[in-house]
Symmetry: C2
Subunit: 415 residues, 2 copies
């Protein structure tokens, strides 16, 4: 994504419908002080720590798997109906490190591969590249991954002498596609993972932000055979600056050297000790303090964010519909995500980096070429719009600019 | 080190001369609030940020290479006479991530190897294992690495078809050996690196803590040909709980795909975006705030620590000398580090994990078997003592217990 950052840097006045970061409307530095005090009070009151122990927990090295694992496990029970043993939780430096450790643990030799719903989050492409784990893209349909397609991809990989270890996906309001996996498909996915012996890597950064009132059960909450490694970011549900995420890895695995049985979480922890040693306990304290201030529930803590993101997504979808009315012969279409930050727009020209450059220069609007999310090619005439980091005015202004860009590009017959 | 943590957990009453963590005598939670306020004031006063910008810097994602790079570069100039372009600084999740990214960047294929002064820090063994980079140990002498030995090892590796990319060492008060590289040898090392075309990875966690008044110049400060990647932890000079370290990587490298020239730091940043995205800006703010409170100098900020570690190391060395007097026929000897946290004791029996278990159980004292620091074998009759996390009473008590353990083990003729 370096090119995208570079374009954004060169056109600071452009409206960004590219940035997928959370909004910063709720951020007040004093809140950090409060979160820290809340967590320290928790250590004193709930854990009986004296001042020396409180200080030691924050200033010193800490447990490799993290120090807020019990609060995270309790929150998962309340918010997601996930029954996680706190010992199976590994607190990480953002979800990215959780992904990195998981993929590294799965990559034993050159025969191991990762399957991933395509288009896919660039972070999974990066983490897999870092640990030399090849990625086999499995194309999504409008309702996300199709279990039949996935089964075919698993078997085809196996026929080529490869070992499909896991399938990565974002079941709720995926980045970039916005798709959501129906409940029945979640169950089929679990059955398939069990039949074909692979893990499901469920990444869930956006599940708290549905467009409607209903939220689907996470795949992990349906997982009665420990087939799912649940990966979570607290960047969207708390704030990115803490850089705290986690994995729930409750699989029982055998140590390849000693044959001893242990939790997959402990295998991840061993790798974590080689990567970052432990996650800053102060950063953990900040997100845990925020969690405690909302009764231990991320769902409760994100009520205002949920309302804002819901409003933004509706504005974005309504705004597209107004600017590109049905039957208008404009050749522009888009999907209707059930929540999250992203909408995919299909246009009648190639929406590549050069088109983005034109869009930024001539129309002052930024978006993300979908081709960046297809490691093996695809999405050439699609672009991703994000509505998380802009306000209502920015969305309207950005869509006006985007409509002008699309009209111009279509007329010029670019691509 | 899992076994060591496990032993420590089973014998909580034992005196630990094993733990290499910094002392926690200077830690007060209120200091965290102060550090954060100091950094926010700096953003307002020195960078002209308004409240919204201050909040955004702390709460949001940030620059991949970090946000406190200018303060770090300024501190290196004052404290270490290192003239680092701030753009060559990559702020990382502790020194461990700096090591991980550097080794990953150096490992292109199976022919690449890392040379490392042996015995070596377990973190380098771990990071190299994580990125599948083989380590060639180069035995240290009493004054650390011998450039002649290193040259022979480089050439021998090359003769075997390998590509020695770098040599890792801790030139000042190494962990675990306590050795220090003389100034002349530092210069020879740089000349050798230039002649034989490899990088020097200088890890410097302990340089601020000499036993005497004098500090030797870092290898990086002598490096006029950009041969040194400087790796630093702020765990000992600030506090471990922030998990902040950094690399100075001012080499100009060519992108293998595009041929474009760029800083090695930017190559590390690209890998960092795949590993942890960025280092928590709040964690960076905490260490930067502490740095600012001491005029931007880690040397100034560690005056009390320096005095305490100096006292502890003297007590440890004097205490060993009193308990094992010269000519006593006890077969016990030790080195005399010029600073840092560690002393290596040679004993007339095998000091392995089983011996540690006996020591903990029967004598209530913990230490570290040196064999853990030799990936290819060695150090069987040596143990590492650390004096960083204990006070004067602990050192005396621990040494009494250790002397009893050593005497008993020698009499039993164990090993």
């Amino acid at each position: 994504m370096n090119f995208l950052n570079e374009v954004a840097g060169r056109f600071p006045g452009a409206v960004s419908l590219a940035a997928g970061r959370p909004a910063d409307h709720t951020h007040d530095v004093e809140a950090l002080h409060s979160h820290l005090r809340t967590y320290c009070a928790h250590l004193r009151d709930a854990r009986g720590y004296d001042e020396r122990e409180v200080a030691r927990e924050l200033f010193q090295y800490g447990r490799t798997k993290g120090v807020v694992h019990e609060l995270i496990a309790a929150g998962l029970r309340v918010d997601e109906n996930i029954d996680a043993d706190p010992e199976s939780v590994v607190v990480t430096v953002g979800c990215q490190e959780a992904l990195l450790l998981t993929l590294r643990a799965l990559r034993r030799d050159a025969a191991d591969v990762l399957l991933a719903a395509s288009p896919m989050y660039v972070g999974v492409i990066g983490a897999a590249a870092l640990v030399d784990l090849p990625v086999v893209p499995v194309p999504e349909g409008p309702d996300g991954l199709d279990p039949g397609d996935l089964r075919d991809a698993v078997r085809a990989a196996r026929d080529r002498g490869l070992r499909p270890r896991a399938c990565y996906l974002v079941p709720d309001f995926a980045n970039p596609s916005g798709t959501t996996l129906p409940v029945e498909v979640r169950k089929e996915l679990l059955a398939l993972a069990d039949d074909e012996d692979f893990l499901v890597l469920e990444d869930n950064p956006y599940g708290l932000f549905p467009l409607g009132e209903e939220r689907l059960p996470t795949v992990k909450s349906l997982d009665d055979r420990r087939r799912v490694v649940y990966l979570a970011s607290l960047a969207k549900s708390c704030f990115p600056g803490a850089r705290v995420g986690f994995a729930v890895a409750d699989q029982v695995v055998r140590d390849r050297r000693t044959g001893a049985r242990r939790l997959f979480a402990d295998e991840l922890a061993k790798l974590k000790s080689m990567a970052t040693v432990n996650t800053s306990p102060i950063a953990q304290a900040l997100v845990a303090g925020r969690l405690l201030e909302h009764g231990g529930s991320l769902l409760a803590g994100t009520a205002a964010d949920r309302a804002a993101y819901r409003r933004n997504l509706r504005l974005l979808l309504d705004g597209l519909a107004r600017r590109f009315p049905a039957g208008g012969g404009h050749g522009v279409s888009w999907n209707s995500p059930g929540g999250g930050f992203f909408v995919v727009v299909t246009v009648p020209f190639v929406a590549d980096d050069a088109a983005l450059e034109r869009s930024a220069r001539a129309h002052g609007v930024l978006w993300t070429p979908m081709s960046h999310f297809y490691p093996a090619g695809g999405g050439e005439r699609q672009l991703r719009l994000s509505c998380s980091a802009v306000g209502p005015d920015g969305i309207e202004d950005g869509l006006d600019r985007l409509a002008a860009f699309i009209t111009t590009s279509t007329e010029r017959g670019v691509g």
